[in-house]
C-alpha cells in the first residue's frame, strides 16, 4: 500500500488536523498517512488526536521551518 501524502504547509491550525483526519478516515487499516505542515500548533494537535484515536505515530521529523508526521492507521 502506498503512503497517503498530505501537504498542509502554509495552513494554520486546525486545518492540518482536519486534512490529516480526512486522510486517516480514507486510509485502509495498516496504511501510512504522511503529513507535512508548518503550523507550530499542529505539533501538539495531531499527536493528541492520534493518542485519543489509538493511531500509531511511526515518524515525527523536524525540518527547516516545517514538520513531518507519519502515522499508521
Amino acid at each position: 500500500m502506498e503512503n497517503i501524502k498530505v501537504d498542509a504547509k502554509g495552513m494554520d491550525c486546525p486545518f492540518p488536523l482536519v486534512k490529516f483526519k480526512k486522510a486517516i478516515d480514507a486510509a485502509e487499516p495498516g496504511q501510512m498517512v504522511e503529513i507535512e505542515f508548518t503550523c507550530p500548533d499542529t505539533t501538539v494537535s495531531i499527536p493528541g488526536f492520534c493518542q485519543d484515536r489509538g493511531i500509531e505515530i511511526v515518524e515525527f521529523e523536524r525540518g527547516d521551518g516545517m514538520w513531518t508526521i507519519v502515522a499508521r492507521k
Binding site: 494554520d12 491550525c13 499527536p47
Partner: protein
C-alpha cells in the same frame, strides 16, 4: 522605563504562550470540534489563578480594585462578541494568536493585524464610530456586582484555583502525551527552549502572569492586566489623533504607553522564543486561506469595538475581575466560535 517594563512584561507573556502552544480560540473551539470538555477546566484555571492573585493583591493594598465598572450595552457586547468569535475561527485564531503568528514568522499574521487595525480604527475613530455609538446606547445595564469588592472573593478564587489545579494534575497524570517534538537539547535548555509545556503548566503560568501584570501595571498608574485590541489600535490613535474614540476595551490604553508595549512585547517574546527553539520561519499562507483570514480580521475589528474587548481582555482578564460584562461577552464569544466551527470547520471535516 514605562515602555521597557511594558515590553518585558509582554515578552514574558509571549514566552508562556509560545512554550505552551496556547490558543484561546482553539481551546474553546475544540470543546465542540474535538469534544474536549476538559478545556473548560483549563480556561477556569487561568481565570481562578489570576483572580486569586488579583483579589489577594487588591485586599492587601498592593493594587487598586476599581470601585466602579462602567455600564454596558447587552446588544453591543452580545453582537460584538459573537462577531469576534466567528472572526477568530475564520482567521484561525484571535488577536493574541495573530500576534503569535507575527512573532514566529507567519506572514498571514501581519495581514490579519493590518486589516484588524484598519477596521478597528474605522469602527472606533472613523465614520463607523457613529454606528458603534448607536449600538452601544441600546439595552444598557449596570456592571456592578457588590461582591466584586468583598474579601470573600479571595476565598472563592482560592477554592476554585485549588480545585482546578488538583483536577488538572489528576487529568495530566491519566493522559500524559506519548509523543514529543524531536529534541536536540537537554536539561534546562530543553525545558526553556524546546520542550512544549503541558497545557496545564501553561495555563497556571498564564493565569499567574496575568495576575502579576496588575501589580506591574499599578507601578505606572494603570489599573488593569493584559488588554489587546485597544493597545494595538493605540499605535494608530496616537499618531493620527482622531476627533473621538468610541468603544474598545480600556479607554486608558488609547494613548501610546505601557499597554501598547505589552502587545509589542508579545510579538517580541514569541520572536525570541521561536528563534532559540529554531522554530522561526517565514511562512507564506496557503492558497485559499487568505480571503477567510481577511474576513475574520474584519469581523474581529468590528467585534472587538462593539464587544468592548477580545478573548483575552474579556475572556480571561475581565472575568477574573468579576465583570458581568466580561462573563456575558465570554458566553457570546464561545457561541460565535462554536457557530463558526459548525458552519466552516465541521462541514469541511
Amino acid at each position: 522605563m514605562i515602555f521597557l517594563a511594558g515590553l518585558l512584561t509582554g515578552m514574558v507573556f509571549g514566552f508562556f504562550l509560545k512554550r505552551s502552544r496556547f490558543c484561546m480560540t482553539g481551546l474553546i473551539r475544540d470543546i465542540y470540534f474535538l469534544k474536549k470538555p476538559y478545556h473548560f477546566l483549563i480556561i477556569a484555571s487561568i481565570i481562578a489563578t489570576e483572580g486569586l492573585l488579583y483579589y489577594a493583591m487588591g485586599h492587601a493594598g498592593l493594587i487598586l480594585i476599581p470601585s466602579y465598572l462602567p455600564p454596558f450595552s447587552l446588544l453591543a457586547v452580545a453582537l460584538g462578541s459573537l462577531l469576534f468569535g466567528i472572526g477568530a475561527v475564520l482567521a484561525n485564531g484571535c488577536l493574541t494568536s495573530t500576534l503569535i503568528k507575527c512573532g514566529d514568522g507567519r506572514v498571514i499574521g501581519f495581514l490579519i493585524l493590518v486589516v484588524f487595525m484598519i477596521v478597528g480604527y474605522f469602527m472606533s475613530a472613523g465614520p463607523g464610530r457613529h454606528l458603534t455609538r448607536l449600538v452601544r446606547t441600546v439595552t444598557v445595564v449596570s456592571d456592578d456586582l457588590p461582591v466584586r469588592r468583598q474579601p470573600v472573593m479571595v476565598m472563592i478564587c482560592a477554592a476554585a484555583a485549588i480545585i482546578c489545579w488538583v483536577a488538572m494534575a489528576w487529568h495530566h497524570k491519566k493522559h500524559k502525551p506519548k509523543f514529543a517534538i524531536p529534541s536536540k537539547y537537554h536539561g534546562v535548555r530543553h525545558i526553556l527552549c524546546e520542550k512544549i509545556w503541558p497545557i496545564e503548566v501553561g495555563a497556571v503560568c498564564i493565569g499567574a502572569w496575568l495576575g502579576l501584570t496588575y501589580l506591574i501595571s499599578e507601578q505606572f498608574g494603570r489599573h488593569n492586566s493584559f488588554t489587546i485590541a485597544t493597545p494595538i489600535l493605540s499605535w494608530l490613535y496616537t499618531p493620527l489623533h482622531p476627533y473621538e474614540v468610541i468603544g474598545g476595551c480600556n479607554p486608558a490604553d488609547q494613548t501610546l504607553g505601557f499597554a501598547s508595549m505589552l502587545v509589542l512585547g508579545i510579538v517580541a517574546g514569541v520572536f525570541v522564543t521561536s528563534l532559540v527553539s529554531r522554530e522561526f520561519a517565514v511562512v507564506k499562507p496557503a492558497k485559499g486561506t487568505i480571503l477567510k483570514a481577511v474576513i475574520g480580521a474584519v469581523l474581529m475589528g468590528i467585534g472587538a469595538i462593539w464587544g468592548t474587548g477580545c478573548l483575552v481582555s474579556n475572556g480571561l482578564v475581565g472575568t477574573a475581575q468579576g465583570s458581568v460584562k466580561s462573563w456575558f461577552a465570554l458566553l457570546f464569544l464561545a457561541l460565535g466560535i462554536w457557530l463558526a466551527t459548525r458552519i466552516f470547520l465541521m462541514r469541511e471535516d
